[in-house]
């Protein structure tokens, strides 16, 4: 097994073949096994389009996408690819199929023809991992947004994927729901070794990632650790993105002539730097 789990090579894609506008215009990216990668970008920059290429929902016009060495254009491998790369979408309501939580979690396994006793075990395991085991007999429409989104995550995790792609999975949730979902995701990433690619608008979420990709107009324009990326506040802003509040504060303080160390992107580090400065 190689280090990289997802590879995009000079990927080009457009939604309308008659228009010259490319949604993805030569994207190359690699995601390493076990990594937590955040993908940022303004609306319409192609980040969702890229995500949909990683489990063969969309196929490239030119260039290649490999999942564990499997070419996504290879139709025989389609279900292997979708089992390897699970995807969670923005609206929890629109991805829950069944009328009972546990049956929805079992949906993917039912499709894959997993035998009943193994299915029971895997469904229970993934419900416990997502922290929704106690709601297993409830109807999804009676759950909160965060709970529903965790049902959707459990339904994907039940397939035992190696990689999880979150397409703005926290965008429609309230702060508490977002917190719960992010906790679940980090748990899966750290303890189960699941690679996570999270497309997000929330800079605080991106700051917790191992690596950040910033996209603009169908290109990957910045890449690096959150510290490396968010330290370049001017450049991030020029791409119509926010920077984490801590980085913004540090920037303003430096502008005001107060010496602050570089690479401050989260609240804790910022508080520590201020504390040391004030002593």
């Amino acid at each position: 097994m190689s280090d990289t789990i997802l590879t995009a090579e000079n990927l080009k894609f457009r939604y309308d073949a008659e228009q010259p506008v490319y949604a993805l215009d030569g994207v190359s990216a690699q995601i390493k096994r076990g990594e937590f990668v955040a993908v940022l970008g303004a609306n319409g920059c192609g980040k969702s389009t890229l995500a949909k290429h990683f489990n063969a929902i969309l196929l490239p016009e030119s260039g290649k996408v490999y999942v564990e060495g499997m070419d996504t254009a290879d139709e025989d491998k389609l279900y292997d690819i979708r089992q390897t790369v699970g995807m969670v979408f923005q609206n929890p309501d629109n991805q829950i199929v069944a009328t009972v939580v546990e049956e929805d979690v079992a949906f993917a396994l039912e499709n894959l023809g997993v035998p009943q006793d193994e299915m029971r075990r895997r469904v229970d395991d993934s419900m416990k991992m997502a922290g929704i085991y106690e709601y297993r007999e409830r109807a999804p429409h009676n759950l909160s947004g965060g709970q529903k989104q965790r049902v959707a995550i459990a339904g994907v995790v039940a397939m035992r994927p190696d990689c999880l792609i979150l397409d703005e999975a926290t965008a429609m949730l309230d702060p508490r729901g977002r917190e719960q979902v992010m906790q679940t995701i980090h748990y899966l990433n750290r303890n189960m070794g699941i690679t996570v690619v999270s497309i997000t608008h929330y800079m605080e979420e991106a700051a917790q990632a191992d690596r950040v990709l910033v996209m603009s107009k169908g290109h990957v324009v910045m890449e690096g650790t959150p510290k490396e990326v968010f330290s370049q506040t001017e450049k991030v802003r020029s791409l119509h993105l926010d920077v984490p509040q801590a980085a913004e504060l540090r920037d303003e303080l430096v502008k005001a002539g107060i010496p602050m160390p570089e690479g401050i992107i989260d609240t804790g580090a910022c508080a520590q730097a201020l504390y040391e400065l004030l002593q």
Partner: protein, 271 residues
């Protein structure tokens, strides 16, 4: 206000009738309907109703629920009864003769029997929906229709459509509520005015609802594909319906009762 609508008319419980295998329950309900017409003499009908009453008692369904399910069909019952009353002619002199209408003893008998039979029919099928949740019923229908799959009848697809519809009814009701409130906030008058005005006022509610439903369908299809959905072939189920000893006992008891009712018709055809 839309939130009050209950889906189906399931009355949750844990009685013998509730726990009875839904496939057998469905088949027995159909058998009961046939029985109501086969055992059409007053004695048979009385026994059938007695059987149903016992079932309602076992299921612990309150009597007022029966009234609730009969209420909407009352006009139809009355209409058929009145038709029977006037148009069934019998031997001998009519009981009442008025202008061109005449009522015979036979007509009265038919009218009463028909009304009672239709009401028993509705009460019987209601018992099925009261004691079986729509989801379980969908599963039962899918399994019962499975043999038709060999004739290329899309059984799995139908069952999937039904369960998705059930899943999205509450979601769409909630959405309708939201859209109605949004239109009211813009000054739409949905609850007042003439009938035609109110119908017209619904158009700006329905259009966004439809657009959003299509968008949802699109996203749901994608989410299903992501979870390797590829139709009914090679699919397994988390919960498989299995008949257990209790189910067979229940089945035997019901069949025995039906047999007694049918026999009563054959032995005492005139009662």
């Amino acid at each position: 206000m839309l939130r009050d609508i209950t889906i189906g008319q399931h009355f949750p419980g844990n009685s013998l009738v509730h726990r009875f295998d839904p496939r057998l329950k469905l088949v027995l309900t159909i058998a009961y309907i046939v029985l109501l017409f086969a055992a059409s003499n007053p004695l048979g009908l009385t026994l059938s109703i007695l059987f149903l009453a016992v079932m309602y008692k076992v299921a612990k369904i309150p009597v007022k629920m029966i009234g609730k399910s009969l209420k909407p069909i009352l006009p139809i019952v009355l209409f058929t009864a009145v038709l029977n009353l006037f148009f069934v002619s019998g031997e001998g002199d009519p009981l009442v003769h008025f202008w061109f209408l005449s009522i015979y003893a036979e007509g009265v008998r038919y009218a009463v029997l028909m009304a009672v039979r239709v009401m028993a029919l509705i009460a019987g099928t209601s018992l099925l929906t009261y004691t079986t949740s729509p989801i379980v019923l969908t599963d039962a229908i899918e399994q019962l229709l499975k043999p038709l799959g060999k004739l290329h009848f899309p059984v799995h697809e139908l069952a999937m459509m039904m369960s998705i519809a059930l899943r999205f009814i509450p979601t769409l009701i909630e959405e309708t509520d939201k859209i109605m409130n949004a239109q009211k906030a813009r000054g739409a008058q949905l609850d007042t005015g003439k009938m035609t005005d109110r119908v017209k006022a619904l158009v700006p509610v329905l259009i966004p609802l439809f657009i959003s439903a299509f968008r949802r369908a699109d996203e749901l299809a994608m989410a299903m594909e992501c979870r390797c959905y590829r139709g009914g072939t090679g699919r397994t189920r988390l919960k498989v319906l299995r008949c257990e000893k209790q189910d067979y006992i229940d089945l035997a008891v019901c069949i025995a009762c039906f047999a007694v009712i049918l026999a009563s018709r054959l032995v005492f055809p005139n009662y």
